[in-house]
Amino acid sequence: MTIIILEIQIILTPLVSPLCAGVINKIKARLQNRKGASIFQPYRDLWKLLHKDEIISRDASWIFRIAPFIVFSITLLIGASIPLFTSFLTNTLTGDMLLIVYALAIGTFFLALGGLDIGSAFGGFGSSREMTLSALAEGGFIFSLLTIALINGTTNIFAIANADIFLHGKYLFPTLLAFGGFLVVLLAETARFPYDNPATHLELTMIHEAMILEYSGKKLALMEWASFNKLFIFLALWVNLFFPIGLAYTPGVITISMGIIIFMIKIFLGVLLIALLESSMAKFRFFRLPDLLLISFILNAIAIGLIR
């Protein structure tokens, strides 16, 4: 039984993450009065890209070639190391919140190096913008996780998901603040509105797309898939750490399937929120983004200050 659960835990992230992107696109299309592509379109895109031949720039070095593998594997590793649908699993080895934060930074590091490696102006600016945002998002990211870590008395995220923070009503307000703070970081880290426009290829606006502009074929597929995974990971952290409701507390076919269903519903709500946000607001000017990230940092700092 445990082995099956572990396997579901490991493959769930890469399996479901393209669906999230598909659902977001579908909702956005419906809100724009378009019919939109099927929610399974990202799977078809990945499948198609995986079978294509590639063109690699002659300026590229081995960094460019291994970056997609590292970026993708990191998201697999993190996807398996965080609580998804169960809370009875324990992970004292790779389940630390700081390890998650800095492991995600490995992905960002290689993504940015891959963008620089081909020597195009787009890639360089994309990397520069990405690193600026991720450097500034780091404070809010660590602080929002720290808020719930301090409430629960552990920085192990499985243990956090296992504890029921709603038993302590007095922590409701700091949790809500950190919840909001985390949303700001989530949008920044996953290249969503108002930080980045995932649909554009205009050099003035793009961040994430600019870095992966030179990738093609299976490497592009891996990069795209990794960014779906990253979105999924952030959503899972968001819904499971701040609202650890409905996680399976005991192993068993019924509880596990209930856990997965409830988890999916929570993820869907998160996806819906992102889609609504993207349909209702414009992208911010680049130099206004630090203010937003600073707000997240301050919200979280206040949240930490309120815990007592």
């Binding site: 080895l93 390890l99 492991a103 930074a105 590091f109 195009s120 660590i142 552990t154 891996l222 200050g305």
Partner: protein
Amino acid sequence: MLEIITSPISFFILLSLFFVGAIGSLLLRKDDDSANIWSNFFAIAGSLWGLLFSVATIISEHTAAFLVNGSPFPLLSFSFNIDLLSAFFIFIISLIALFCSIYAVGYVRHYYQKYNIGALGFFYNFFILGILLVLTASNGIFFLIGWEIMSVASFFMVIYDRDDQENVKAGFLYLVMTYIGTAFIVVAFLLLYKFIGSFDFVPIKSGVALLPIGAKNIIFLAALIGFGVKAGIIPLHIWLPAAHPAAPSHISALMSGVMIKTGIFMMMRLFLDILQPIPIWWGIVVLIIGIISSLLGVLYALTEHDIKRLLAYHSIENIGIILLGLGSALIFSSLSMPALAFLSLVAALFHTLNHAIFKSLLFLGAGSVINQMHTRNMEEYGGLIKYMPQTAFFFLIGSMAISALPPFNGFFSEWLTFQSLFQGIAILDSSMRWLFILAVGALAFTGGLALACFVKAFGSIFLARPRSTEVTHAKESPRSMLIGMGALAMLSFLFGIFSSQTVSLLEKIGRSFDVLQKIPETILVSNSQGLMIENSFSSVSGLTFLLSLVGALIVVAIIIDLIINRSQKIKIGATWDCGTDLNPRMEITSTGFARSIVVIFKGILKPSIQHTIDYSDSESRYLPRTRTVSLGVGDVYKSYFYQPILTMITSLSMRVKNIQSGNTNIYVLYILIALLVSLFSIL
């Protein structure tokens, strides 16, 4: 066996190896090659001996305190005290010196026929000897002798490349700052002597209760400034980004990796050992300095395009991180929470070791690149990964380690520092709590900005197309340099994977402090799997992380390459160029890369833009011939800290000058007054 290795005689053999290396190198100065081999051979032998000595001391916990007779002055005694803290720092210096010396064998060759190799070997060995004396001296005056040997030897190595006027200027700045620091240290020792009556550390420690609290505070401030200058805390850091780039690269590695840590060493020794118990505000001051140094250090690093200055600013940042650990250790020990103080101290010690390793690795990598490129300006690099693949790989590992990416060593010490600060937030009250929140924020932002900085550094040095023709002539470094870098890269990896084993040794050193000896139960658990803090508050394992990452990589590669996409063809083409010919000037520059961060932090960094336009017809001003834009960063310290001090000193001197009029009669009057005053005071 361990008894013999840890005996005083063994220690004197260690010192004499470096001494022989120094003198022999000077004698052989006529022949460049033999001077180089001789000095580095003895430095390598000495470092190996030092490794053996320090490891044996730490394992056997066999501390040695001994006195060498024959001091010509009553107050100076050649007394040594090698406890576990000294042994730990001897371990660091030996480790770094070993690989720097191996590297130097190949690196020094490019100075042949140009400068005196014998002199370099002489100062190099004496520099290490000086550091060893600093770490082991147990008498204030004897300590200062070692301190001076270290400072003067490093000064001569900073100005070694003396054809460049900039280097001589940097050396002078270094000398001035060093002596300002030494002056404060002397004040601290003299005050201790005044109230306790001895320069020896042992009587000082037992008599510390005699100190009035006011004097104690002054001693703290003097020592903080004195040792802070050496450690490079902001705002006393100005010599560091000037002097470290000027020295030959293996010297920069030693200065940045080890020499600045002697300041940290003495802070630990004085504040956590000799002067205990201490008031709480000392720890607060140290913590605040840590916050400022770490954040500003990394911000200034981002603005640099001189590779060695960039690394030098990162040293300031990392000293800040070490001080975050040390500061919280001081605060916890004043609040009598020894278990938490212990955790913070171990974090600080671990980061000291890790920073020494990856920073010297990065400096050696930078040295190899500069050696080929003949410039320190990163804007003229680019694409070097194709010409110097191994150097690039080692530099990548160093960059990942300093950016605290797992599973390299930098991550684990920053993790421990984070955890000790978290404990502070969880336990302390009100204003102290906010201080710790601020410290966590500083550390978090520092981590993010350091990552950005090293993407910039690695990207603009090694990636994309060459930005100058010099790059295409670059060749991979000679073997000895590669061995030096490769070994340090390996260590950076091993200390990450085996962080728990390392920490269990560091715990021993932490326990050797008197204040930390009575810890009821240990807060830090390190087993073969990983590190764990206080009843599973948190835990982490480098080995598991590495294995799962490698496993995931292999699985992904197999599935993608061998199953899904077996018959795929890869075409080599040009980068998408929008229809124009791409040239290197279209790539992002390192200045451009960091520009958005500089603009965001413009309140602190004060960026400046200067346009100079040269018109072909200065009357009409329509046709510019050349346009120059210079981007700069304002030097806040010069304008708000050093300039006012300078103005004050100058105006004071102008006033004092008035008593010197040149008139003989006045001078006779002065003599008369002086005579009368002294007569009255005697009577």
